[in-house]
């Protein structure tokens, strides 16, 4: 055998070459740049143009927004004086002081200052109520509460350093955060999740009494609601209300019963065919006509109803897509098991259909959340609506960009977080399909 081998193989290497480093052009920073930025002549030109664009835009924006900005002043004139004094005549800079001064108003609107702890508590409980729905264990809640306490500590430290009164650490939210955080750590396993879900289910009632008052709490008129509090109330109610309503509408649209189906189709197509602003006009001017004479329930509640109906029509279409995407075999299997309509929907069809439609559902949520800004057109005091009184005030007259940028930034953070969460959820649920 060895002879044969010697004849068939003309050359066998007897020495071993030392491994060489890869060529410069394909590894490391330089290689990455050659591949991704300068791979061809046209690519290089595009890169140079993009860098030029960034260099043209970025320094001016940074200078305005960061280096020349003023964070502490009591009027726009003071802001401008500070900028002129420190950076010379003609220098422009952002006057973030307006955000600093009006922060409370942007968050709570005209909610009475002494009662602001109630929206705070409602928000904290909202986080508690959301975690069991969004995650499998309650551990994220413990992290969130820890983060909240850390932020509170930082603010307290800042207060101590500036000589202000330290009040931030003694409020009801601190107590609640500690309790919720400890509870989440101790009884926050996957097994205890159903109990937390019960809390989620009763949360709307708690939130209603916290925000509007009643029982032992002092009532607050909803004309006082404003700022991001109003955005959150409309957004969260719309989201929470439109999902079940949308599921019912989607099932109705696919129902075998012609009358039920027609009603659902007409409702969905009508709502989807008109802009939200016309529905808000209905809420602000028309809805009272359709209610018994003498009823006059307030505008925030009317808007909540309209926004929920609006979102539910879109939700219904998204879920209908999910229902249609399920293979027919799943329906047949449910029938073969002898399940009734509601059983098969609850146990077999809907879990899968909802999983398929998660991206669409979250997109609808994001759209709904963004659409809450439209209420400023019917004169509700959401963050955009709050801009008007601030701009009309002579102390801040002349400020434009800072307010828009602040509001836009807040919306961006919320919507971006929602879209990232949907990606995370898709990944998690896809685990079932992986083999």
């Amino acid at each position: 055998m060895s002879d044969l081998h010697a004849e068939t193989v003309p050359y066998v290497a007897r020495t071993r070459f030392e491994p060489q480093p890869p060529p410069v052009a394909s590894s490391g920073v330089l290689g990455w740049m050659t591949q991704n930025l300068f791979s061809s002549i046209s690519n290089t030109i595009v890169t140079v143009l993009a860098i030029a664009l960034i260099l043209y835009m970025l320094p001016g924006m940074l200078e305005w927004a960061v280096f020349h900005s003023v964070w502490n002043a009591s009027s726009i004139k003071e802001c401008r004086d500070i900028i002129t004094a420190s950076f010379g005549e003609g220098a422009t800079g952002a006057c973030w002081a307006v955000i600093h001064e009006r922060f409370g108003q942007f968050i709570y609107g005209y909610y009475p200052v002494s009662l602001r702890w109630r929206p705070d508590v409602a928000f904290l409980l909202l986080v508690v109520a959301m975690v069991p729905v969004l995650f499998r264990t309650m551990r994220p809640l413990a992290y969130a509460m820890g983060g909240l306490l850390a932020i509170k500590l930082l603010i307290a430290l800042y207060d101590v350093m500036t000589g202000a009164k330290v009040e931030v650490l003694t409020g009801p939210t601190t107590v609640l955060a500690v309790i919720a955080g400890i509870l989440a750590l101790v009884v926050g396993g996957e097994k205890q999740r159903p109990y937390w879900i019960w809390f989620t289910l009763i949360y709307p009632v708690i939130a209603y009494f916290l925000l509007w008052g009643g029982l032992v709490l002092q009532p607050v008129d909803s004309s006082k609601f404003g700022g991001f509090l109003l955005t959150a109330v409309i957004g969260v109610t719309g989201i929470a209300g439109s999902l079940p309503l949308g599921i019912l509408l989607a099932l109705g649209r696919r129902s075998m019963l012609p009358i039920v189906r027609t009603v659902c189709v007409i409702f969905i197509e009508f709502i989807r065919g008109v802009p939200l602003i016309t529905l808000l006009f209905v809420a602000s001017t028309l809805l009272n006509y359709f209610l018994p004479p003498g009823t006059n329930f307030n505008i925030v509640l009317r808007v909540l109803i309209m926004v929920t109906l609006f979102a539910s029509a879109y939700m219904a279409e998204v879920i209908r897509g999910g229902l249609a995407a399920l293979p027919k075999g799943q329906y047949e299997a449910a029938d073969a098991l002898g399940l009734g309509y509601w059983q098969s929907m609850r146990l077999i069809i809907l879990p899968q259909a909802l999983k398929i439609s998660i991206p669409g559902i979250v997109n609808t949520f994001i759209g709904l959340f963004k659409d809450t800004t439209l209420v400023s057109i019917i004169a509700l005091q959401d963050p955009l609506g709050l801009m008007k009184p601030i701009l009309a005030n002579s102390t801040w007259n002349g400020i434009v960009w800072e307010l828009y940028i602040f509001i836009a930034f807040m919306f961006f953070v919320c919507c971006f977080a929602m879209s990232r969460y949907s990606m995370f959820l898709e990944q998690r649920l896809r685990a079932a399909d992986r083999r």
Partner: protein, 398 residues
């Protein structure tokens, strides 16, 4: 032995209405119908009572009364003495104008950004991601107001052009002025010539396609098309003695006269809606291109097609099937979002019919019904187009 099956049907009992499948669906529907009718009757009854209590009637007579307000942006003749109906029509045309303009630019922006997001150039791809994420995650109303603020504060006032040589296009904080075309004698002939040459291009293209299918030879359509489009019209334009001229905007007094003014509100709305919807379209285009499996483009290259022909013949036709339906619903969204014009004072249908007319006449019910009716018709038309397209390009399997 045969066992006689019992043919006797059990006597009807009341619980069979919801227990027995034969009666159940009818029963449920009857109940639904009754509840629905009762609800509608209740609502209508309330409305009648409330209107009566306020001393209001339900009639559309107000449409034929003078509107008594001015509309600054209009496509057809309108004065403040025109009727409310005409004001509504002006508004509707303004809505359609912004919708068409916005759809065209949003599509262009969206396609460019969507393709650029797939670019191999890391920097370009990241910049486009930044654009898409920023615009998608911030409400469109903020974009509209922000653009309006930029137009009104960052652009020069008309007065700054005093003594300057202004070109055909003038950009001011009151809007952009572009030249007005004047149609003189013979311009009709010129338009007919142009229409004929477009028809000729379509015919030649059909012939070229037939020829390619029959013989495999390709006709240089680009050059023939360009020639047909430009040459006859150019010759006609010279022979007819330049029938179409342009009037340039000129600074007179405090403002520009002559030329077409695209008002600041129109521009703000147009730019904001285009950029906002463009970000969504970019994602649709990207998803569409990614949905074409890699094997398809590899197969096209293996057949020896060059990249642009592979794109045109293999990838795009498949990607369009995925792209077009959501694209059309984005057009629908843009049209509906144009109702936010009311925030910047652009007089679209919402601004005239649902705004000033409603406030002046106090006819909420009629105005909002008409407004919803208009938007419903537009959206039904758009979805009819979408269904037609879907029907045409649907994959027919097996």
């Amino acid at each position: 032995m045969t066992v006689a099956a019992s043919t006797e049907t059990p006597a009807f009992r009341i619980e069979m209405l919801w227990r027995d499948e034969r009666y159940r669906s009818g029963f449920i529907q009857a109940i639904t119908m009754m509840i629905l009718m009762l609800a509608v009757a209740w609502l209508v009854n309330n409305a009648v009572e409330n209107l009566a209590a306020l001393g209001k009637t339900f009639d559309f007579g107000f449409l034929w009364q003078p509107a008594n307000y001015d509309i600054n942006q209009r496509l057809i003749d309108y004065t403040s003495r025109s009727t409310n109906a005409r004001a509504a029509l002006v508004g509707i045309l303004n809505t359609l104008l912004i919708a068409v303009m916005g759809c065209v630019t949003a599509t262009v922006i969206g396609i460019l950004a969507g393709v650029a997001r797939l670019s191999k150039n890391w920097l370009v791809a990241k910049l486009m991601t930044l654009y898409v994420e920023t615009f998608r995650n911030i409400p469109v109303l903020i974009w509209i107001l922000l653009t309006a603020a930029i137009v009104n504060t960052a652009l020069p006032a008309p007065a700054t052009y005093r003594g300057l040589e202004t070109g055909p296009v003038v950009v001011t904080n009151r809007g952009i002025y572009i030249p007005t075309p004047n149609f003189g004698d013979g311009s009709l002939v010129l338009l007919i010539i142009f229409a004929l040459s477009v028809a000729a291009i379509l015919m030649v293209r059909a012939w070229a396609n037939r020829r390619q299918e029959a013989t495999g030879e390709q006709t240089p359509m680009l050059w023939i098309g360009l020639g047909l489009l430009v040459v006859p019209s150019l010759i006609g334009y010279i022979l007819l003695g330049a029938p179409i001229t342009l009037t340039y905007p000129e600074l007179k007094g405090f403002n520009f006269q002559g030329g077409i003014q695209l008002r600041d509100s129109l521009i703000a709305l147009w730019v904001a809606l285009s950029l906002y919807t463009g970000a969504f379209i970019a994602e649709i285009v990207r998803a569409g291109i990614l949905s074409v499996s890699h094997g398809q483009s590899e197969a096209a290259y293996a057949l020896g097609l060059r990249p642009n022909r592979a794109m045109n013949l293999v990838i795009l036709p498949q990607a369009l099937r995925v792209i077009v339906p959501p694209l059309i619903s984005q057009f629908l969204n843009l049209t509906k979002n144009s109702s936010l014009a009311i925030a910047v004072g652009y007089m679209d249908a919402t601004g005239t019919l649902g705004g000033i007319t409603l406030n002046q006449t106090g006819r909420e019910m009629e105005c909002i019904l008409l407004l919803m009716g208009f938007y419903l018709i537009v959206s039904l038309l758009i979805s009819a187009v979408m269904n037609l397209y879907n029907e045409r390009v649907r994959l027919v399997e097996r």
